[in-house]
């Protein structure tokens, strides 16, 4: 809802990036909803 603290995203994003690389994904498109 636009109120997530930016720093709170770092850990989840880093873990997510690890999973993406494990699956052979090298680029992503991000869109707001």
């Amino acid at each position: 809802m636009g109120t997530t603290q930016v720093k709170e995203l770092e850990r989840t994003a880093t873990e997510f990036a690890g999973l993406l690389k494990k699956d052979g994904v090298d680029a992503v498109l991000l869109t707001p909803v």
């Binding site: 109120t3 995203l9 770092e10 997510f16 680029a27 992503v28 498109l29 707001p32």
Partner: protein, 242 residues
């Protein structure tokens, strides 16, 4: 989204993204972003127009070819602004204009009721509801928005801030109107529905009043909401010209 892009990129995954709020994207400066002037909730623009959406998608993916960021690109072929001439009436329920604020709020409440059958039709066709983010009924969301515009105290439910409460109520009201309008005979396109909502409904007038009030709020988060989430930039631009 911008911050997420930065973290993913730092972890070795290239990112590109759609930006709906240019000010946020400029502040966060993600690696690559395509700024589009579409309304919130429509990152690919015009609904049900696959060709248009593909152009947006290709433009966003094309940014991955940039050797390095940050890149913030404006699309060359964004849809026309709201200043285009409306074609015909969009919804079989029509409402008066140029009312004072008290009349506007009363009309808004009646308008929500009058659109009920059209919204019901849309919900039955799709098999799901577009309303419910706020966890209240559409009547409750409309009443909350009307109360805020009237200057009454709004108490957020437990677990939500005032800003979140107002935002979710507005989103529910807008979704309700757009779904109801789309259910009318003649299959109106997205632009026609936009024009109807902002130019012909009491809700559009209430949202404009809401935007003005929330921009002057004591709460910073509510002021930010006013700046980014209530009235599309193109509508504010048209209002300023009028």
């Amino acid at each position: 989204v911008g911050a997420l892009g930065g973290y993913l990129e730092a972890a070795g995954v290239a990112t590109t993204q759609i930006s709906l709020i240019r000010e946020h994207t400029e502040a966060i400066s993600p690696p690559r972003a395509l700024w589009v002037s579409f309304m919130l909730g429509r990152p690919f623009g015009v609904p049900n127009d696959a060709r248009f959406q593909e152009r947006v998608l290709r433009a966003a993916l094309g940014l991955l070819e940039a050797p390095q960021g940050p890149v913030l690109q404006d699309p060359e072929d964004a849809p026309a602004a709201m200043s285009d001439v409306a074609e015909g009436q969009v919804c079989p329920v029509s409402f008066a204009h140029e009312l004072d604020e008290a009349d506007l709020r009363a009309l808004f409440v009646r308008e929500v009721e009058a659109l009920g059958p059209w919204y019901g039709l849309a919900r039955n066709r799709r098999g799901r509801s577009a309303v419910g983010l706020s966890a209240g009924s559409i009547d409750e969301s409309a009443a909350l928005v009307a109360a805020f515009v009237k200057g009454e105290h709004v108490s957020p439910p437990e677990g939500l801030t005032l800003c979140q409460t107002l935002k979710l109520a507005c989103e529910d009201v807008r979704a309700y109107y757009y779904r109801a309008a789309a259910a009318r005979p003649g299959d109106p396109d997205a632009k026609a529905i936009d024009q109807w909502f902002w130019r012909e409904t009491a809700a559009g007038g209430v949202f404009l009043a809401f935007q003005k009030l929330s921009a002057a709020s004591d709460e910073q988060s509510v002021r930010r909401l006013a700046a980014t989430s209530i009235v599309p930039r193109s509508v504010l631009h048209d209002q300023a010209k009028a």
